[in-house]
């Protein structure tokens, strides 16, 4: 084999800039999808908790679609599908401001919201019904009991699963390359094609993904420990 590993070619100049831009785009995708996903997950959880069949079914359908269809397809549906129904002028404007990343954030956030709402729901289900009864018997209203007794326990119980979803989302941001978002894995591929430095390009991307994943995993264990709900 005549292949000589040489990272220096990639860790400088234009290629280094591309890697740094890739990291930045990956983090923007990750943080915004996570934030909007969590927000929507809370809404979905509350809507599903209310005993009204039609809205419960709507949420269930939303969850099932996002859990049973590959994320890449969901990205395609937004990027290629949604654009078709929009007027040309709107599409042109969106493309000017970078439609790919917007669609990617929407698709990833919706996908994560489906999973996270299920985590919240299972957290709530594992709280003994007597907790609600005890809260109500003190004189709290239904909403007061939810606010001060049920939800503070539910998020603690759901925390390990939510953090697991966070890690999956972080790695899942690489799928956005499929619709042309210039995130880290997209840049790695571009650098590899330009420089023919296959191992170096993907090696560096791998190292960065692993490093950030390790930080998320470390945070997971610290937070899960800190907020663990101990029930006798």
């Amino acid at each position: 084999m005549g292949y000589q590993l040489d990272f220096s070619k990639i860790l400088q100049g234009e290629y280094l800039d591309l890697i740094l831009q890739g990291i930045q785009t990956t983090m923007v995708l990750f943080v915004l999808s996570w934030f909007f996903g969590l927000l929507l997950a809370i809404v979905l959880t509350v809507v599903r908790a209310v005993e009204f069949r039609p809205t419960q079914l709507l949420v269930a359908a939303f969850v099932e679609y996002h859990r049973n269809v590959p994320v890449l397809i969901q990205l395609f549906v937004w990027y290629f599908g949604f654009a078709v129904v929009l007027p040309d002028a709107v599409n042109e404007y969106l493309n000017d401001i970078g439609a790919e990343i917007g669609y990617a954030i929407v698709a990833l956030a919706l996908n994560k919201a489906a999973y996270m709402s299920e985590d919240f729901r299972s957290g709530m289900r594992s709280i003994h019904p007597a907790q609600m009864e005890a809260a109500r018997s003190i004189g709290l209203t239904y909403l007061g009991a939810m606010r001060w007794v049920i939800l503070p326990q539910a998020w603690r119980l759901a925390l390990p699963a939510l953090l697991g979803q966070t890690l999956i989302l972080f790695k899942g941001t690489s799928l956005a390359a499929g619709i042309g978002v210039a995130e880290l894995s997209y840049q790695a591929r571009y650098i590899e094609e330009q420089s023919f430095r296959i191992f170096e390009a993907y090696g560096i991307a791998t190292a960065i993904y692993m490093l950030i994943s390790f930080v998320i995993m470390w945070l997971t264990s610290v937070l899960s420990d800190r907020f663990r709900l101990r029930v006798k």
């Binding site: 007597a130 907790q131 009864e133 005890a134 809260a135 109500r136 018997s137 003190i138 004189g139 709290l140 209203t141 007061g144 001060w148 007794v149 503070p152 326990q153 603690r156 709900l229 101990r230 029930v231 006798k232």
Partner: protein, 243 residues
């Protein structure tokens, strides 16, 4: 203070409370006993509307608790309720559990509520556990915290649904000692329990329920005498055999 007038309740087609009429005088302690499934827990749970009734009326302090004008949350702040399984909130420390009614119902700040909560913990002998989590204290201590929490809004009535049944034998006495003390302080209490020593010593009347009916309602002297109701005699001897 509490009056049941021909109260009946059904779970589906099963009638679990059958035309019960009885009165609990202000400042007295009533012990409810009877075989399991006799309706004692269900009956006490109707007093703060944890269980709805289908027939009859229940008045507390002269007020029909099932009247449309009654706000159930306001009603419950005047009636302390203690459960068999304590039902402390596991995400809150002992003192935060005790403070919760003041903070979330009377909207007091932590600073305002803290002195009263600490005083109450001292009263139940647990001032040193204020910052412990429910998972770190014993069953007997948990039940005393639950009692402290139920007393924070100064209810006139305290209802206890088998407060010692989930406790190890050595912890029963610490809870009974507290209840004895509360009973002496003039609180109106209804207590479902199998602790017949407590009934004999502390109660003003003992109610015996069987199959949803209030079969016998007597002062403890008569209840535990040889003149008692034949069903009670059978129940008491069955309990003695188990102890």
């Amino acid at each position: 203070m509490i009056e049941f007038q021909a109260v009946s309740k059904w779970f589906g087609s099963l009638k679990v409370i059958k035309e019960i009429s009885a009165t609990v005088d202000k400042g007295t302690t009533i012990v409810l006993c009877g075989p399991s499934g006799s309706g004692k827990s269900t009956l006490v749970r109707t007093v703060n509307r944890l269980e709805p009734i289908q027939e009859g009326t229940i008045t507390v302090g002269g007020m029909d608790i099932n009247a449309k004008s009654v706000n159930v949350n306001t009603l419950r702040t005047g009636i302390g309720f203690v459960f068999q399984q304590f039902n402390l909130f596991p995400h809150l420390t002992v003192v935060d559990n005790v403070m919760l009614p003041l903070r979330r119902i009377h909207q007091q700040s932590r600073k305002e509520a803290l002195p009263a909560a600490l005083l109450m913990l001292e009263r139940v002998g647990l001032a040193d556990k204020a910052n412990a989590l429910p998972a770190d204290i014993s069953g007997g201590q948990s039940q005393r915290v639950a009692i402290a929490r139920s007393l924070m809004l100064k209810p006139e009535v305290l209802i206890l649904d088998e407060p010692t049944s989930a406790l190890d034998p050595e912890m029963v006495s610490e809870v009974l000692r507290l209840l004895r003390q509360l009973s002496g302080e003039g609180l109106t209490m209804m207590c479902v329990t199998h602790e017949m020593g407590f009934a004999r010593e502390v109660s003003d009347r003992v109610w015996f329920l069987k199959n949803g009916k209030l079969t016998f309602n007597a002062q403890p002297e008569l209840f535990f005498s040889s003149e008692t109701h034949p069903d009670v005699r059978g129940f008491l001897s069955a309990i003695q055999k188990n102890h």
